[in-house]
């Protein structure tokens, strides 16, 4: 709930952002930072840290909110989202924000980078793990599939791909744009072990993440079925909320719904 409220406040204040995708990913991010990732804000460059790459970098507000929850950013920092010269750019910058591993944004960049991280860990005989969160529309970019082939070729069982399958991209529903089904089968055919989960059920996500690697010598893919805008009735499943900025009224109503939903 905090991640959703914080990220929506940030988008509202900045008058720019991607709240729909923030909300579909919120539970995944909370699961990662709350229960899975071995990261330490007091030692952000620890070579043995886990790597989390937010490949769907446009949902930076939810990433920053999650990083704040994990102690990498302060509440005051979050208020500078997209402000002039702020370190909190609309897309994350690893050279400005501790805890950010990759300068994502263009889409399709995170998984190749994640493959590189996982390879580095294998080379060093290290036990840290790499997690990459992609959007489903993002998977229309071919570079993801290049990386997918490479990950299975190199048996990267220290790599986990999480797909935020909210079925909506910028302009429309994904299946009206480019059909992405059968999504699970596609990744299996590329040599990944795939498990499907309710991506908005944080506990189910944690359990699934804990089970990785699902198979030795095989990269793991979590196909997380989510709802874009999840948690607020007037945001759910609406393409316009891909990058709609909430009005004052909408912000208040959303916060009220989220707080009610928590009780």
């Amino acid at each position: 709930m905090r991640t959703r409220i914080r990220s929506l406040q940030m988008v509202h204040r900045a008058k720019l952002g991607h709240p729909g995708g923030d909300f579909s990913s919120a539970d995944i991010l909370t699961a990662l930072y709350g229960a899975i990732l071995h990261v330490d804000p007091s030692n952000p460059c620890d070579p043995e840290r886990d790597r989390f790459i937010m490949s769907k970098g446009h949902c930076s507000s939810s990433l920053y909110a999650a990083l704040a929850g994990a102690g990498f950013l302060s509440d005051a920092d979050l208020d500078t989202y997209m402000a002039p010269l702020s370190k909190l750019n609309g897309h994350p910058d690893r050279n400005k924000v501790a805890g950010v591993e990759a300068n994502t944004g263009p889409l399709g960049h995170g998984l190749p980078i994640g493959v590189g991280c996982a390879l580095a860990a294998k080379m060093s005989g290290a036990s840290w793990r790499t997690y990459v969160l992609v959007g489903d529309g993002e998977l229309q970019e071919g570079s993801n599939w290049e990386a997918g082939m490479c990950a299975s070729q190199y048996k990267l069982d220290n790599l986990v791909l999480i797909i935020d399958r909210n079925r909506i991209q910028q302009g429309d529903f994904t299946e009206n744009t480019i059909n992405m089904e059968p999504m699970a089968e596609r990744w299996r055919s590329f040599g990944w072990d795939v498990r499907e989960v309710d991506g908005n059920n944080m506990h189910a996500v944690v359990e699934c993440l804990r089970a990785a690697p699902f198979t030795p010598n095989v990269p793991s893919c979590i196909l997380a079925h989510t709802i874009k805008g999840k948690g607020v009735s007037f945001m759910e499943n609406r393409p316009s909320w891909h990058h709609h900025v909430p009005t004052d009224d909408e912000l208040q109503k959303a916060i009220a719904e989220l707080e009610r939903g928590q009780r």
Partner: protein, 295 residues
Amino acid sequence: MALADERIVAVVNDSVGSAKLKGFQSKFPQRFINVGIAEQNMVGVSAGLANGGKIPYVCGAACFLTARAMEQIKIDLGYSNHNVRLVGISSGMAYGELGPTHQSIEDVGWMRIIPNMTIIVPADAIETEAVMEYSGIHKGPMFLRMSRIPVPDLFEAGMKFELGKAIRLREGSDITLMANGVMVCRALQAAEELQKAGISARVLNMSSVKPIDREAIIDAARNTGGIVTAEEHSIYGGLGGAVAEIVTQTHPAKMRILGVPGVFAPTGSAEFLLEHFGLTAEGIRSAAVELLKSR
């Protein structure tokens, strides 16, 4: 180098043979990654390897390495400022008859515009070795542009590479010839011919394209009669452009920029194409004479 620093790893795109990395591959198989014919993934992977503490050398034909993976180079290397060395082999028109799809005459131009990218174009095997040694300690992304057209050794074995410094290979005051890569030996030959006509030509090896030696350029503009640049690259955006940007804004001087004149090359071997485009000692000599006559 790889023996001394275990962080060094190699990444290729099915280019093991052409990158002459079979030795590395057999000696350090764990540190060798072949992503197959997938340049975007190749560069993205190198950024991830750098994140994981490695020093990746990404080796592939310059044409595919740069063009196909441009966004990864811009964002995952430049913007992210990762410690990756892009080794663009067979650059320029080295692939000759294989045609423009395999030629890389834009790469320096593209790379120049990317912030944080260091660009070096060595002139011979000795300078190449010196550049590689330097690359082991340089911080930040690099584009090392290698040709394949044979050239004689111009330097003393064991030379040390100095980033941002042009090397004055020949003194002269009537005109300055600036070149890099395979054009350097041709510039030196041109200077010999010019000397016979009583023209004293200064010759500078401009292997460090970014950062470039501003002082040497301004000195040439100020103290010689003009500047001729020559490169195995388009006339747009490469060494000539870099020099002109400085000259026009500091001490305007007449220039001639020799390169591939904004066209896709016709069929022909690499040597034939250099002749065809006047990228020869004779071409440089005559451009110099023409520049001096036009003043």
